[in-house]
Amino acid sequence: MSAAPRVAPTVPAYRPDGFWDEMFEAPGRVRPHYVDLARRLATLAAPDVAKRQRAAELSFQAQGITFSVNQDPSGPEKTMPFDLIPRIVEAEEWARIERGLEQRVRALNLFLHDIYHEQRILRTNLIPADLVLGARGYRREFRNVDVPLGVYTHVVGSDLVRDGTGTWFVLEDNLRVPSGVSYLVENRRVLKRVWPQIFTDYQVRPVEGYPQDLLDVLRSVAPGSDAPTVVLLTPGVHNSAFFEHAFLAKTMGIDLVQGSDLFVDDAAVYMRTTRGRRRVDVIYRRVDDDFLDPLAFRHDSLLGVPGLLATCRMGRVTLANQIGTGVADDKAIYAYVPTIIKFYLGEDEILPNVKTYVADDPTERAYILEHIGELVVKSVNESGGYGMLIGPHAPAADREEYRTRVRDDPRGYIAQPTLALSRHPTWSGDHLEGRHVDLRPFILFGRDVTVTPGGLTRVALRGGSLVVNSSQGGGAKDTWVLEA
């Protein structure tokens, strides 16, 4: 690192405020891989940025890249706010993240295979057996089912954060139906369109290959067919991620189906087409386990396909991700992932966990109740920024409520220290301000593990806010992984 001060003239007033800042190592001192971007930003006038920002927004609107809020089907469709200033990750740093994610996903799949078969890990004292077998995501219907290639989670989206020292942590794993990858691809496309100049100084690894990689993975797990028929199962247009479902189906060139388009006959899944029935081999399903099959799970589900679970158990159709993966992203089981990595791979974890207190454990529960004002308390099964309490920011009444909840349902809660999430310069009206960010990379697992070079950087657009979820007012940035 050179000793010369690297001053960015556009942002003289920018203050990292003591947080880890992705772009600035100190006020006015830009990190080496951000220097060219800073130089580019220096030539910009506020109206110009505003104009490009508007162009990006219009582009998202025209394409209908929207999500619906509050599960309200008639409500307004919103575009996800997009911040033009990209986040940059160096090649070397990315390589370590990649290794860490691959290690994690391999270990979690071995864990899933084990707990649905021999249950070796439960016979040690490393993880309490009732924590695993009593998890809401554990599907005993799926025991002793052999899945193609031993892969349970074909698509994973893990959330990474950095603390005040710049250390990367895994905050949570999303192993059921992670979403957001369409934004990763579209953000890049839109940024190239509205601000092509900023790409000229950098060699950014492309992310457009994701749909093809996904299709390869889905084909690789087909049950024995040379030319398998792959479909994407969506809950329908009212689902908040419908855009992504349509986007992926279109870019992969596969049919986007709803539950009513499929039926089970003679132990096989078919879709209704204009030329009669057509056999389906692989279903990339974006429908939760609970709604997949009214015969097996929720009887009132109209989104699923009666008989799907039985067909899947017989190995006549492959679901991606498989049924019952939710047990491994249960937030109480998350606390044991380093143990899981050690047990199955004999390695230390490359990417550490955030320190987690499991309320199910009496000692840790006592700690949570006592220190609730310093902790983030989370429900083990929820996501999207719902069902959580940020202790330091919460009013006394809310803390009291969560104390009661933790006491009443200890299995349902965990707590973590409140992290000073890293920040990134973000356009705010007419200048740059630091905003907290996280990173969701996407990992594909078929014959091999592939980590898409990039990720969805989510940014809390409200100053000071730590919640980055789009349902809670978060936005997104393009994420650049640099060529080695």
Partner: protein, 327 residues
């Protein structure tokens, strides 16, 4: 392709074509009002007679209670298109989506009242752009043929309806005076079907009721005529049928019904039409089109659950139970 997707594409095309027709109607009622002033001129075109002239334009453009208003057509087309956007080109989807987005803003709805005609023209251009994009961006596969089918079924039905609404005037001996107000009336009929210029070029004659009916009903080469539309719809259906495996020699009930309608307009001369009575002739055509549309749904679109389905589920469940006992 999926039956649901085919069905939705068929209806997207129908709503787009319907929107274009409604937009022409807005244009025409305004012209008539300025030329002739009285409502008996445009009322037969619209088919709604209890409305003042200002209100009729609201009814046609932005009345959400009217399922055939311009705004309703655009919304219906866009809502369906959103669910099947993966089956059309991005350009087509963005065209409909942007149009819908521009209707939703409050300023637009205020403008509509004052400038219904220019608003309607703008919407029409966008809808026609959608049709043009379909023409140039879609492979000639099922997606395209179902869109064509929807477009031409809607057009045949719409033109037949416009003519039918005029037929009682002819029956009552009105509307046949070759000079004076009847010229205005029949010109309006041609304009409503976007056919005034083509008529003039084809006949280069005075606007005569029988000629207008002949042109709109029986012309073989003009794309707005009922005959041309039915021939095109049959061709689209044939194309789908050829793609469909195991169909044998039977083209299916929808193709047979649509073919009967086509035969009527292909093989009847204009004097024979009037001999039979224009109204009954047109009503027959409209009924056949409606019947074909229903049969289409039964054959291709809403494929009923296979008879084996429940049996299959029961068997899968049994197999599953058997497997569990082996463990």
């Amino acid at each position: 392709m999926l039956s649901r997707v085919a069905d939705d594409l068929y209806w997207v095309a129908r709503y787009v074509e319907r929107g274009i027709a409604v937009s022409r109607l807005v244009d025409v009622t305004r012209h008539l009002e300025l030329d002739a002033g009285t409502e008996d001129f445009w009322a037969p075109l619209v088919g709604a007679i209890d409305l003042a002239s200002e209100d009729v334009r609201f009814y046609l453009t932005s009345d959400t209670m009217n399922p055939d208003s311009l705004v309703s057509c655009v919304r219906a087309a866009r809502t369906l298109a959103r669910g099947v956007r993966e089956a059309m080109s991005s350009e087509m989807w963005e065209e409909l989506n942007t149009l819908y987005g521009s209707l939703a803003t409050p300023t637009t709805s205020r403008q509509v009242r004052g400038e219904a005609v220019s608003f309607a023209r703008l919407v029409r251009e966008r809808l026609q752009a959608f049709q043009g994009l379909a023409e140039s961006t879609l492979a000639r596969e099922e997606e395209w043929h179902f869109l064509e089918l929807g477009k031409f079924v809607e057009r045949a039905d719409g033109v037949a309806r416009v003519l039918n609404r005029q037929s009682h005037l002819l029956a009552a001996g009105q509307g046949s005076d070759p000079t004076g107000p009847d010229v205005v009336r029949w010109l309006a009929v041609l304009r409503t079907c976007g056919s005034a210029e083509a008529y003039a070029r084809y006949y280069s004659l005075r606007v005569e009721p029988a000629r207008v009916v002949e042109f709109l009903l029986l012309n073989a080469v003009f794309p707005q005529s009922v005959r041309f539309s039915l021939v095109s719809a049959c061709a689209a259906l044939d194309a789908v049928g050829t793609l469909r495996a195991a169909v044998g020699n039977d083209p299916g009930p929808a193709a047979r019904t649509l073919g009967r309608a086509r035969a009527q307009v292909e093989l009847t001369a204009i004097d024979e039409v009037f001999e039979r009575g224009l109204e009954s002739f047109l009503t027959d055509i409209q009924l056949l089109i409606a019947q074909a549309s229903d049969e289409l749904s039964a054959t291709y679109l809403r494929d009923q659950p296979q008879p084996g389905r429940l049996v299959g589920v029961a068997r899968a469940t049994q197999l599953m139970a058997a497997q569990q006992q082996q463990q």
